[in-house]
Amino acid sequence: MSALATAPAIVPLAAAALVTVVRSRPALQQAVAVVGILVLLACALALLAQVLTGETLVVAFGGWPAPMAIEFVVDRTAAALVVITALMGAAAIVFLASDADVGNGHPLLLPLLFGVLAGAGGAFVTGDLFNLYVWFEVMLICALGLLAIGGRVDQLDASFKYLALNLLGTLLLLFAVAAVYGVTGHLNFAALAAAAPAVAPGLWLAVLTLLTLAFLVKAGAFPVYAWLPASYHTLPAPVLALVAGLLTKVGIYAVLRTLGDVFSPAPGVLHELLGWVAAATMLFGVLGAAYHWDMRRILAFHIISQVGYILLGIALASAAGYAATLFYTLHHIIVKANLFLIAAIIWRLTGSYDLRRIGGLYVARPWMTLLLLIPALSLVGIPPLSGFWAKLLLLEEAIGQGRVVWTVVALVVSVLTLYSMMKIWMEAFWKRHPDPDWQPPVNTRLGPAWAATVGLAGVTVWISLYPQALLVYAQAAAATLGGR
């Protein structure tokens, strides 16, 4: 069943084509989208079941022998990320049926959404460097379409900034791919791993630095993250949740794949530099979040801050560090997407994303407090929620390696994260609504929104209460990285 390895790319592409064909009939389009995402989810779970037996699925295209063919390789790391991709797609498509900031109902929104899923899925499973670049381009053009599709002037403005900075990152990636091919003569990951030690160390460091920098642009790391807070907050909520959850993580996955797996052991100076980049990313991201009062902008800056934590695991350059990175990534995608979706529900109930204009939700919707606090406190890392386990794994390894400065930065940033999560709670829930006549609207269509957010919160609670299952999986995944 190695053909199953193509499903993460093929299924979303087929779904994108189908929802484009039926775009003139919204109800049918939505039904096709639900079927498409369910098929993707089923394929992802089947892949997960395969890799759980210890097998790595490899499929080579075109009948070429090993180093020539483009390969799709699904190991534990890739399979877990594919499952989470499908889950995020499902949450976004369910949420689209509500009326909480879901955009203008443009018929091409769903095709582009599946395009993003195809790009992410393809990037996770590919075993070829140039192919990885192509999947990054697929994600870029689809994300641009999703940004520009709303047509408001701020969305066009955001698209332009996203385009300019991300396209430079992509071109940097293409340049790095050319350099890698120039010095090794290979693009296949397995062949690259074998060929890399023969390259002169100085030249190799330059090439690998270029490649890592290109991926860091995509990951939203300091100091090349400016495209992210400039654009994300203009997206409609379900799209924002999907894009915010997935796109930067694909960049992180690419850094993990290059430094931690294919080119492992990478030069130590690169890991050292990455550690400082990670610490700066955490700090500057959270400072941006502490300044803002618009919920979407707060959360967008928190993506950057959390990217720093995830990169720190890669910088530690050990199996425990990589396991922490994988655990953190999986936990974080769910929590972050859920926070954006909950912010959209708050917007629907109170009328604004700006914390200065809203309030009174604790009286109006007391149970919603719990729904907010699960992902919010998990993002901070309050025990026993999933973020606590992720940070524990990460900081245990950092302390174990004697990285005191990085650990202290991570802990200080956690406190500042708590500050901005409490800001959302105090302003949106605890204080009175600034308009004394405010009543929560009655004619809302929030059922699908509740289903999506409660479902994601349920996954967070599951990880929180049974971290062992995911931890064992992440450790097994990390143990196979760099093992070629």
């Binding site: 919204p26 520009a148 403005d157 300019a164 430079l168 340049f175 400039a230 009062w293 902008r297 604004s352």
Partner: protein, 139 residues
């Protein structure tokens, strides 16, 4: 030959980056296209240049000797196609942006990130730059 190509890559990248640094958004879009062309040249150069022989392995041989490696040429074709699509998109986007925002000065494009009027507090979002509330309901 390789030095001539290196100089061409350098000049193309330099002019592209120069255009990208402009405040005129239309020039930025053109600059990105020029940078893309420079990177494509570099990609082409990664597979040997200048032999002029067809990239065909003679019968009975296993290795391609003397000719350029055809793989980077195939990669460049892919990259050109992708780059062309992105250039088309960026030109359409920039024209729409100039039309709707009424300016082509990048420093005046502040619709997504408004300039704070207060020294401490961030600016309030302009309702014209936020989703409509209450929503009209999807068609």
């Amino acid at each position: 030959m390789i030095w001539a190509v290196a100089a061409a890559v350098w000049i193309t990248l330099a002019s592209g980056v120069y255009l990208c640094l402009s405040r005129d958004v239309f020039r930025v879009a053109l600059g990105l296209a020029v940078v893309g062309a420079g990177v494509n040249l570099a990609l082409l150069a990664s597979g040997r240049l200048g032999a002029g022989l067809p990239a065909v392995v003679p019968k009975g041989e296993q290795l391609l000797v003397g000719a350029s490696n055809p793989l980077p040429q195939a990669l460049v074709l892919t990259a050109i196609v992708i780059g062309f699509a992105l250039v088309c998109f960026s030109l359409a986007l920039v024209l729409g942006l100039i039309r709707d925002a009424g300016t082509d000065d990048a420093l005046e494009l502040r619709a997504a990130e408004p300039v704070p009027g207060d020294e401490v507090k961030p600016p309030q979002t302009d309702p014209a730059h936020a989703p409509d509330w209450p929503p009209e309901g999807r068609p």
